[in-house]
């Protein structure tokens, strides 16, 4: 893999598709330093002191919003949260008008989650502030893929040459898209597994091996990543029942045994126990699901620091 970049090229993090492998390495390396901050008795550095970060969430989120907020506070940024229920969206304001109003208050970074793919691109074209995509529609969720990669690298020491199986609803998943871009850029081999009804068109052109056989996907995998299955997909006719879904695709201890002995089990949350993953697997020794959550803070600190941090003198470590 190429050497880490010295800095990120853009003012925004809209998606993994825009990053080079050396930029990804830079973020992951920076996150290692940030993780050390979270282990200190005083979990705070002044890297973003005097900077304003707005968390603009048009979709409900517990994990991601909290993770960003913790990351921002540990970097000493001034943060504020705008959630859809309390925003002017219910009165019909357009995204651009909201963005212009926020821009008038001179934030340094806006972290946004939105139900429409490409909403962060629209925001980035409108605002001078750096935009961090916290999930846009079915498009990308770049910090999730970065924390997943960080977690794999932490356990395996590398990404290059690993087999990663991603199992579930690829069609509607921004986590899948960001992960397939990131892992293939870093030299890993990605297997995408789910019912054909939940597989996006051209999945192999995205860089993944596609299969409907969970056994084929999991066999000799170094990491197995389960994606959340939403109940409304069953109502939408994508598969017959949650019961049958678990029978065909659910991650059971038997299926885990097909993977490498030291394989790790991942899930971006929130989990549906008994639908895509058995509790014995979610809570088992191979599970790194809570490590992912912890690493999310470090990765988000790294992204915010690299986009909005001051000069080189204000290093986090």
């Amino acid at each position: 893999m190429s050497e880490p970049a010295a800095r990120l090229r853009g003012k925004d993090l809209l998606g993994i598709a825009d990053l080079t492998s050396s930029e990804i390495s830079l973020i992951l390396d920076t996150a290692e330093a940030m993780k050390e901050v979270s282990a200190r008795p005083i979990k705070k550095v002044p890297a973003l002191r005097g900077k304003t970060v707005i968390n603009l969430f048009y979709e409900p989120s517990t994990r991601t919003r909290t993770s960003f907020e913790v990351a921002e506070k540990r970097l000493s940024a001034d943060t504020l949260n705008i959630a859809i229920a309390t925003s002017s969206v219910v009165k019909g304001e357009t995204l651009i008008d909201t963005a212009l109003n926020l821009e008038a208050m001179s934030p340094d970074v806006i972290v946004m989650r939105h139900a429409s793919s490409g909403a962060c691109h629209l925001l980035a074209r409108t605002c001078k502030a750096g935009i961090v995509n916290a999930g846009d529609g079915m498009h990308e969720h770049p910090t999730q893929a970065l924390l997943d990669a960080f977690t794999i690298r932490e356990r395996k020491g590398r990404l290059q040459g690993l087999k990663v199986a991603i199992i579930g609803d690829m069609l509607h998943s921004r986590v899948f898209r960001s992960n397939v871009y990131l892992l293939t850029k870093m030299g890993a081999e990605v297997w995408a597994c789910g019912p054909p009804t939940l597989m996006p068109a051209g999945v192999s052109e995205l860089g993944a091996h596609a299969t409907s056989s969970v056994e084929e996907a999991v066999r000799d995998a170094d990491a197995v990543m389960m994606l959340r299955i939403q109940l409304e997909r069953m109502q939408g006719g994508f598969f017959p029942s949650l019961r049958e879904y678990f029978q065909v695709f659910g991650m059971t201890p038997e299926r885990v045994r097909l993977a490498k002995p030291d394989a790790i089990i991942m899930h971006p949350g929130p989990m549906n126990r008994g639908v895509e993953i058995a509790s014995e697997v979610a809570d088992g020794p191979a599970s790194v699901i809570l490590d992912q959550v912890a690493n999310g803070v470090a990765v988000r600190m790294a992204v915010l620091y690299l986009l909005a941090g001051g000069g080189d003198d204000e290093t986090a470590a």
Partner: protein, 443 residues
């Protein structure tokens, strides 16, 4: 009042003319087309020397536009749409009925024609709804609308909802001698899609509209046109599969015709990624398809499978486009870019000849809609489109006559443009960029 146009290349596929001709216009009608008409024998006549670099064609007819009036006058009106038409080289347009109220009755048809007459620009041919309110249930009063001036029937914006309704519409329209124009899309397959289903939509996380949604509907219409013996016209055909259906249907003598838009023969869906990701001016229905489909459309334009170039001119206010991609309105304006795109992308690219382009933009739409024009014949109204095929054109959306600016072609540099537009002998548009055309402006 006499006007004599001298020395231009005249192309009229209907009469097989392609060469230097003079055209004499008298009282708004074509009086004579001949190799050399001398001013003296014509008497008191304004003579305009056009020269061989300009091409005079029978007036172009855009058989698929949305003029938005009544109901959406902030997007376009009959008058502004007709102004855009003449600026784009069209002497006539046929307007779709998806206004508010829908043009599903003779009174709305007459209102549109009244607005068009007051504007006094391009001719406007209303297309009546197939079903009342275009809601896919009961047939609209098709005979009454024909008598008021409708030239075809369509529920455009959506497909003719059911196979049974399409059958009845074809049978009834057949009695009236008019075509049914269908927006072919199986809505259950298209779902909430906003972009062509393929790897590029997958990359962008946009819900897909599969090619199959168009293919199955075109095949349905082909089967029903064969069954009824009536004329089905496929609007804005966009897929290679649909083109194959039309080609095969024509080979076995089914009365099916089709049109292709300039944006579908120019662009393909990878454009959604770059240079401007999620550009809402690339959102239209049918969506920009795969490059393979675009290439198939180009082949169809060349081999004769495609009958017509039509724009699907769909004006939208900037507010309808400056939003998230999946919330943005479908459609782009096309009247003021179609001729330059056709010249640049098809004629200068060596794919079709100029006479073939005139067939696609004039001869064939006139034949399909059974309206006057589409030819240069003594006694006909003098509707002329004059082209400057070698003019360098830079598309400028802010300069459009249309009320709307929603085009992905702003700033494009194209070779070939409109020199002038003449409707009923009246010179309604003269392009000041074209050398040697100024005299026509004073005529």
């Amino acid at each position: 009042m006499r006007l004599l146009l001298k020395g231009a290349r005249v192309i009229d596929p209907a009469s097989g003319v392609d060469g230097a001709r003079d055209i004499l216009i008298e009282d708004g009608r074509i009086a004579l087309v001949d190799v050399s008409i001398s001013p003296s024998e014509a008497g008191h006549t304004t003579v305009v020397a056009l020269g061989p670099s300009l091409v005079v064609c029978p007036g172009f007819i855009d058989m698929h536009v949305h003029l938005r009036e009544p109901g959406y006058e902030h997007k376009e009106t009959v008058a502004t749409g007709a102004a855009a038409a003449v600026a784009g080289g069209f002497t006539a347009v046929a307007c779709m009925p998806n206004t508010n109220p829908v043009n599903d009755s003779a009174s709305v048809t007459r209102f549109i024609l009244k607005q068009a007459a007051e504007a006094g620009l391009a001719r406007v041919y209303p297309i009546g709804a197939v079903s009342k309110g275009s809601d896919g249930k009961e047939l609209a009063e098709m005979a009454d609308m024909r008598d008021a001036g409708c030239v075809a029937y369509s529920d455009d914006g959506r497909p003719v909802a059911t196979a049974l309704l399409m059958r009845r519409a074809l049978e009834y329209a057949g009695m009236l001698g008019l075509p049914v124009i269908d927006h072919c899309e199986d809505m259950t397959l298209a779902g909430e899609g906003v972009a062509h289903e393929g790897v590029h939509a997958s990359q962008l996380g946009l819900r897909g509209i599969p090619s199959a949604s168009e293919d199955v509907m075109v095949e349905r219409d082909v089967v029903l046109a064969a069954m009824t013996g009536s004329h089905a016209h496929i609007a804005h055909l966009s897929t290679s599969g649909a083109l194959r259906s039309v080609r095969a249907a024509k080979e076995r003598g089914v009365h099916v015709t089709c049109e292709v838009t300039p944006h579908h023969f120019t662009l393909s869906d990878e454009r959604l990624l770059a240079p401007l990701a999620y550009d809402t001016n690339l959102k239209m229905n049918p969506p920009l398809r795969h490059a393979v489909d675009r290439d198939a459309l180009v082949e169809g334009l060349k081999d004769g499978t495609v009958d017509v170039i039509a724009t699907d001119h769909a004006p939208h206010h900037a507010d309808d486009k400056r939003v998230e991609f999946d919330r943005a309105s479908f459609g782009i304006v096309g009247l003021e870019t179609a001729v330059s795109l056709s010249l640049d992308r098809l004629v200068h690219a060596g794919i079709i000849s100029l006479p073939r382009m005139v067939e696609l933009l004039s001869t064939n739409p006139a034949r399909i809609l059974r309206v006057p024009g589409g030819r240069l014949q003594a006694g006909d109204a003098a509707d002329l489109t004059i082209l400057a095929p070698d003019l360098n054109v830079t598309v400028s959306a802010p300069a459009f006559r249309s009320k709307s600016r929603n085009t992905p072609f702003d700033g494009w540099q194209l070779r070939g443009g409109v020199a002038a537009t003449v409707v009923g002998g009246r010179v309604l548009f003269v392009n000041s960029e074209v050398p040697g055309i100024a005299g026509l402006g004073r005529a």
